[in-house]
Amino acid sequence: MMEESDLELFAQSLRQAIDRHKGENLDAALAEIGWFDALATDAQTAIAALFPILGTANASSTALEGVLAVRLNASSGPGRVVLPALDGWEPPGVRDGDLLTVRGLLMGPVDDGEVLVIVANGADGGAAAAAVSSSLLNFRTVGGMDPAARLMEVTGELPCPELSSVEQDTWEQAIALGRLAIGYQIVGAARAMLELARDHALNRVQFGQPIARFQALRHRLAETLVAIEGAEAVLEAGVANTTPFLAANAKAIAGRAGRTACRHCQQVLAGIGYTSEHEFHRYMKRTIVLDSILGSTARLTHDIGAQLLSVGHLPESLPL
């Protein structure tokens, strides 16, 4: 664990890196600062330090893949791991006899011949990981909702390479950490939206007064802060004790908070919030994209509800 003061310094250098660099350069800068090393020693602390800032800066990075890589023991650097396809959390690969079929996402472009880790489920149910050269796969640069997110869609059908088995537990842990990371990123984006809306409310004058005086708007912004703080509290609990249950809930709660921020902040911003000229739209789009990676709020919530109903019991969580 890092000391409080070291952590503050670390966060400061992360913030500087994010201000100065974009895309691959940002990933290289993060590596240089030692973020990937921090991730390997104390994943939770590294996640909580970086991802909120990524969200607030609306930055794109492959750091999320690094988070999975660390749990899969796949890399000690900025390892590239193919993420599950949109909205899901099943491994992106499927093994069938000698064939490996891949359908998943990446958080940034890949170099020719770069090695990607692909986790695949077999017909026997067990998961395994393979290291595959990018030259064997097909990539599509995603435009979609948010081109600046730099997502890549990965597909492929290839002769099954050499595999090393992955415990079910390990995959679940990797997903859990990834969910905390995305949750933090969404919360960072939500805070940025709230700040934009707050600023606007204080400066925009209608009926001879700042619109911040109107209670209907004050309550929307208050509601947004409540959602953000609730989500952050659960994320912090997930950092302290990363169980799959807590992490899945934390991501869903953060996703919902993100959508709450989108709704209320856009309403406060009104016309200007409906443009591509104001910053707001970037955060709104990124929030929606992030929400749909590793399980959307809607899917996770339904899944958790179904689990609770089938066990007929609320698992003990968050003891003092």
């Binding site: 709230l194 707050r198 409310a201 204080l202 700042p210 911040a212 005086r213 209670q215 004050r218 309550h219 912004l221 208050a222 509601e223 802060l225 409540v226 703080e229 609730g230 989500a231 509290a233 659960v234 912090e236 609990a237 807590l246 809930n249 869903a252 709660i253 919902r256 809607a298 996770l300 919530t301 339904h302 899944d303 958790i304 509800g305 179904a306 609770l308 109903l309 066990v311 007929g312 019991h313 609320l314 969580s317 968050l318 003092l320």
Partner: protein, 376 residues
């Protein structure tokens, strides 16, 4: 005393004495039965020391972190041994009295409260002053040898069972608003006090109207400075949204757990269950962090309005789900357990009213936490 030692010891003690500590009545019971049972639980917890941990030694406590108090209430509520609505009043009233009152007053009365010998009530709201508390008009004038109080309070929980009242009175002019308010610590058996219980929406006489007709109160019973009552009252509000809310979280967990066990198959939508569980988790995570901030000696303030909004939303969601899943009992049931669920359902509606309404909490968040400036 560290939390883990306390937890292990308390859990064991509760397991051993569960028969004695379990309410002798099924479901809600009458108000008198509830009071009698709570007094007994408090006495047992005080005699064994469990209820003394976390309170200062000057008021009969054994010292130690406030976390111990949070855990005691949680342990009792989650086993169904106490009703936190009833149980948590000391958490709301005692800390402010300890901070602001003459130390001798606190030393005399707080132990009686903690040991279940006495009950206190909170005389803040009035017919003309609910959310706008600073407009209150129950008046205290200076007499020869003490205050004379005349006026009315309303919605005073458990007034008819209370020996003392932490009472907010007007001592300045009506226009002085929050600058002319004083807190008095009043004996409820003083001549001139009349209590008229009010039936709540579930039929129980949980709160009352309290009338004061030229009631004498000694000057020594002033808590804080004359005309300095607003600061004391504002100091109580964060206490209303910290330890006692953690206790409510414990009962909500229990209710949610019971609902999951008892709701007929197919009666609940997975999405609604998931979302409700998440609201509860969000509240508990936030409140848990507040418990640790409080324990570290931090003064808590306006940020607890967030805890309160989260609680009210979670509580109402849980009980909405109960109404959905256990509608047979809530709508048609005439047994004690059904009555308990109904009472819980109705009480959840109050979560956005008492201790500062949902709207007032949002006003506080907008003004104090988001710094949005004045609203008019």
């Amino acid at each position: 005393m560290d939390l883990d030692t306390y937890r292990t010891g308390l859990d064991q003690w509760l397991d051993e004495h569960v028969a004695e500590l379990t309410p002798p009545y099924a479901g809600v019971g009458t108000m008198q039965e509830r009071v009698d049972h709570l007094s007994k639980v408090r006495r047992l917890c005080f005699e064994t020391g469990w209820a003394r941990w976390g309170w200062p030694e000057e008021v009969g406590g054994l010292g130690g972190s406030t976390i111990l108090r949070a855990y005691l209430g949680e342990a009792l509520a989650s086993r169904g041994l106490v009703d936190p609505n009833f149980y948590s009043t000391p958490e709301v009233l005692a800390p402010a009295v300890i901070r602001a009152a003459d130390p001798r007053l606190a030393a005399e009365f707080v132990p009686l409260l903690l040991s279940g010998e006495e009950y206190w009530c909170q005389g803040f709201s009035e017919p003309g002053s609910g959310s706008d508390l600073a407009s209150l008009s129950c008046r205290a004038t200076r007499g020869e040898d003490g205050w004379r109080v005349t006026g009315q309070k309303v919605w005073t929980s458990f007034a008819q069972f209370a020996q003392r009242c932490v009472l907010l009175v007007r001592t300045g002019t009506q226009e002085s608003a929050h600058r002319g308010i004083t807190v008095l610590f009043v004996d409820m058996d003083t001549p001139g006090i009349t209590i008229r219980p009010l039936a709540t929406i579930d039929g129980s006489e949980e709160f009352a109207e309290v009338f004061f007709d030229d009631v004498p109160v000694p000057f020594e019973r002033t808590v804080g400075k004359p005309d300095g009552g607003w600061a004391v009252a504002m100091d109580i509000l964060p206490d209303e949204r910290s330890t006692s809310l953690w206790h409510r979280g414990a009962i909500l967990n229990r209710q949610m757990d019971e609902l999951l066990a008892k709701a007929p198959a197919e009666s609940l939508s997975p999405t609604a269950v998931g979302e409700t569980a998440q609201l509860l988790l969000g509240f508990r995570a936030r409140s848990r962090a507040t418990q640790y901030r409080l324990a570290s000696g931090e003064r808590i303030g306006a940020e607890t309005s967030i805890d309160k909004v989260l609680l009210a939303s979670a509580e109402q969601a849980v009980l909405d789900l109960v109404l959905e899943g256990l509608s047979q009992q809530l709508v048609l049931g005439d047994d004690a357990i059904s009555a308990q669920w109904r009472a819980d359902f109705f009480f959840s509606r109050a979560a956005s009213i008492y201790g500062g309404s949902a709207e007032i909490q949002r006003n506080v968040i907008a003004r104090r936490l988001l710094d949005l400036g004045p609203d008019r």
